[in-house]
């Protein structure tokens, strides 16, 4: 458990999208998509947190809320104790631009992460112009070349002159990473940043990110649907993995704990979904009653996983489980499941059948 003040603190964050009315949209029913619901999470200096879940679970929305790209409809996002959205409105001690610069992003798709009409050099000048407007072009180029070498793109002077279409997918992501790092951020949101790369290139990219994390002393919020990548990344970065389901965090803990000893049935599902080269370890039966994720417009009552959970009982429909610290483990690990409570009516109620 860390003692210092968190870098970024999400408290009970809620993001509900609404098909909001336009200029003439008087007749629309507001349909509310509950993308994120009641998530609390602290991210510390030089921390690594991975959010894992299937598509549509709200992990990207949560990530964007964390870096101030998406305004939460409830709860708060605090950067070093200052509410990000209050700062944005100018009601805080820290100027918003400082927070803005401190929180950066790397996107999933290498194809669209760089402006096709600008050369690498001009793409990388943007963050320097934002943070160091006084710097001369030559100084900027010096930094750019030096960072390009550092991310393995040598000769840097050659790469700097290229357009994005002259780079491979892995190289594009390195430029995107460099762009984020040149802002000298405190945290980078890596939104499926390696998912579009070939499997064999992913480790390389993760190693690079971790290597630069130490040098730039930044934190990572790593979003992935792949538990083994999340494990690799967080284990090396001494961080945590959070399992996310339908807008809620269902389990958070250290990587070895979450992957080897998952407590929430959904984390178990994620583990099942992760391919394993050890064929004997790979279980054949699906630990899930339904394949498709429910519509976030109308999420299930009680525990949201009860419609698919193999362990679900009547009680799961009625009541929402609260985060429960795992017993007999001396590290910070919790799960929101009634099976963690010793004397819950869950144990007496009827198993759900379809």
């Amino acid at each position: 458990m860390r003692s210092e003040e968190p870098l970024l603190s999400l408290e009970n964050v809620e993001v509900h999208f609404e098909n909001q009315g336009g200029f003439l949209d008087l007749f629309d029913d507001a349909e509310i998509v509950r993308a994120v619901d009641g998530v609390s999470l602290d991210i510390y200096e030089e921390d690594v947190v991975a959010l894992v879940g299937e598509s549509g679970c709200g992990k990207t929305t949560l990530g964007k809320t964390a870096i101030g790209l998406q305004e939460p409809t409830g709860g708060s996002v605090k950067f070093r104790g200052t509410d990000v959205w209050e700062a944005r409105r100018g009601n805080a001690d820290i100027p918003f631009s400082e927070i803005r610069n401190s929180l950066q992003i790397i996107h999933q798709d290498p194809g669209s992460s760089l402006n096709p009409n600008r050369r690498v050099k001009s793409i990388l000048q943007v963050p320097l112009e934002q943070t160091h407007p006084e710097m001369s072009t030559n100084q900027m180029l010096e930094r750019i070349y030096s960072l390009l070498e550092h991310v393995g793109m040598t000769p840097a002077t050659d790469y700097a002159e290229r357009y994005p279409h002259q780079l491979s997918g892995g190289e594009k992501q390195r430029v995107a990473l460099s762009r984020a790092l040149l802002m000298n951020p405190d945290m980078i949101l890596a939104d499926e940043a390696i998912s579009a790369l070939d499997v064999s290139l992913r480790v390389e990219m993760m190693d690079l990110m971790l290597d630069l994390q130490e040098q730039f002393s930044t934190s990572f919020l790593f979003i992935s649907h792949d538990l083994s990548n999340a494990r690799y990344f967080t284990e090396h970065g001494d961080g945590r993995i959070g399992g996310m389901y339908l807008g809620e965090l269902v389990e958070v803990g250290p990587p070895e704990q979450v992957t080897q000893n998952p407590r929430h049935p959904y984390t178990e599902v994620l583990r099942w979904a992760t391919p394993n080269l050890n064929l004997d370890e790979q279980s054949k039966d699906m630990p899930m009653r339904k394949i498709d994720i429910p519509d976030p417009v109308d999420p299930p009552s009680g525990c949201r996983f009860h419609t698919r959970c193999p362990e679900a009982r009547e009680a799961c429909k009625q009541e929402t489980p609260q985060p429960q610290t795992i017993e007999n483990v001396d590290i910070d690990h919790w799960a929101s499941c009634f099976r963690e409570y010793d004397n819950h009516e869950y144990w007496q109620s009827q198993p759900l059948q379809d």
């Binding site: 909001q20 336009g22 200029f23 003439l24 949209d25 870096i67 790209l69 631009s97 803005r100 610069n101 929180l103 950066q104 992003i105 996107h107 999933q108 798709d109 669209s112 992460s113 760089l114 402006n115 096709p116 009409n117 600008r118 793409i123 943007v126 963050p127 934002q130 943070t131 160091h132 072009t137 030559n138 180029l141 010096e142 930094r143 070349y145 030096s146 960072l147 070498e149 550092h150 840097a156 002077t157 002159e161 290229r162 357009y163 279409h165 002259q166 780079l167 491979s168 997918g169 190289e171 995107a176 762009r179 984020a180 802002m183 000298n184 040098q215 730039f216 002393s217």
Partner: protein, 342 residues
């Protein structure tokens, strides 16, 4: 590792050892700008036969304009020749003359400068408004978008020609630049809708979000991240707007709803049609303005067809002999040259 780094107060200090490579003089910068913005686009434009012909045609009109402007060819005057001369008979009036003895060739040449001013001012007006409205609406979204698009819908619903006729017949404009602007008074509306749609799809690219996260200002994002990627579309529509101005203005002069001017292709067309070119058999008198209109329009279409290549970095790097694209030869996105044409 060639570089070294030390922590300074802002956490980073980078030096790149091969600093002589980094240094750039003003002269080198100018040279780079020349290469980037003049030499390479020119190379690309010239590499395509369509644009080459297109530029040659438009260049011819510019030449006419220069000739007229500096009076290198006599201006049209009544009775400068025998009336109703047939073409190719007198050396002094190759294209013959009209009923009042004006040299037809002179009429054609001296109509060019005003025409070009009209075309450029009208097209620039239409495109600037359309791009500003379209990109801003598309980028901002929400209520701003709805309001601007409602305005565009209303603008689109007003029929162009009748509106222009009402305006010109009451305002009686004489300045060619103003005539051009009146002609494209609601041209922006339909175009801004199309540009908004393009902007929406460009906005989806994550580099736009990355710029926002870096705190880049909205105008900068629009001018650096969005508009450059719209350029192929914008140039094509600029050319289409030019053509619209030609069509409309000649039509208006032909109908006589613009203040009479001595030398205009539309006026000549009307005179030829009504004053007996058809009956008198002076086909050149009638055909000359028609050819002038068609040729300019054709030249502009040809330029438009090759224009999207100029803004395509793939084509640019390939022709400039830089390294090939890495990810195979993905097809070069062709812009629909005729989208929004009339």
């Amino acid at each position: 590792m060639k570089h070294s780094e030390t922590d300074s107060q802002d956490g980073l200090e980078w030096t790149y050892d091969a600093s002589q490579e980094v240094g750039m003089t003003r002269r080198e910068k100018l040279r780079e700008y020349y290469e980037e913005y003049l030499y390479k686009p020119g190379l690309v434009a010239w590499s395509d036969w369509r644009t080459r012909i297109g530029y040659a045609i438009v260049g011819l009109y510019l030449l006419f304009a220069v000739i007229a402007q500096f009076n290198l060819y006599r201006p049209p005057e009544a009775s400068q020749e025998m009336p109703m001369l047939q073409a190719f008979q007198e050396g002094s009036a190759i294209l013959g003359s009209n009923t009042i003895g004006q040299d037809i060739l002179s009429l054609m040449i001296h109509a060019t400068p005003e025409m070009l001013i009209m075309i450029v001012s009208g097209a620039v007006f239409a495109i600037v408004i359309a791009v500003l409205v379209g990109t801003f609406a598309g980028f901002k979204g929400g209520r701003v978008d709805s309001a601007l698009m409602f305005a565009a819908d209303v603008g689109m619903s007003i029929p162009g020609l009748p509106l222009v006729l009402v305006l010109t017949s009451t305002l009686r404009p004489t300045n060619p630049a103003i005539i051009g602007i009146i002609i494209t008074i609601n041209y922006w509306a339909g175009l801004s809708r199309a540009i908004r749609a393009q902007t929406l799809s460009i906005r989806e690219n994550s580099y736009v979000e990355a710029s926002r996260v870096m705190g880049v200002s909205t105008p900068r994002i629009m001018f650096k991240d969005i508009i450059p990627n719209l350029m192929p579309y914008i140039t094509v529509n600029f050319v289409n707007a030019c053509r619209a101005v030609i069509f409309f203005s000649v039509g208006l002069y032909y109908l006589g709803f613009l203040p009479y001017t001595n030398a205009n292709w539309g006026v000549v067309l009307n005179n030829a049609y009504t004053q007996g070119a058809i009956l008198g058999g002076s086909y050149v008198w009638l055909m000359a303005p028609i050819v002038m209109i068609m040729l300019l329009s054709l030249g502009l279409i040809l330029i438009a067809q090759g224009m999207d290549r100029v803004f395509n970095p793939r084509v640019r790097t390939r022709l400039a002999g830089e390294s090939e694209s890495v990810e195979g030869d993905a097809e070069e996105g062709e812009v629909d040259t005729f989208g929004g044409a009339m």
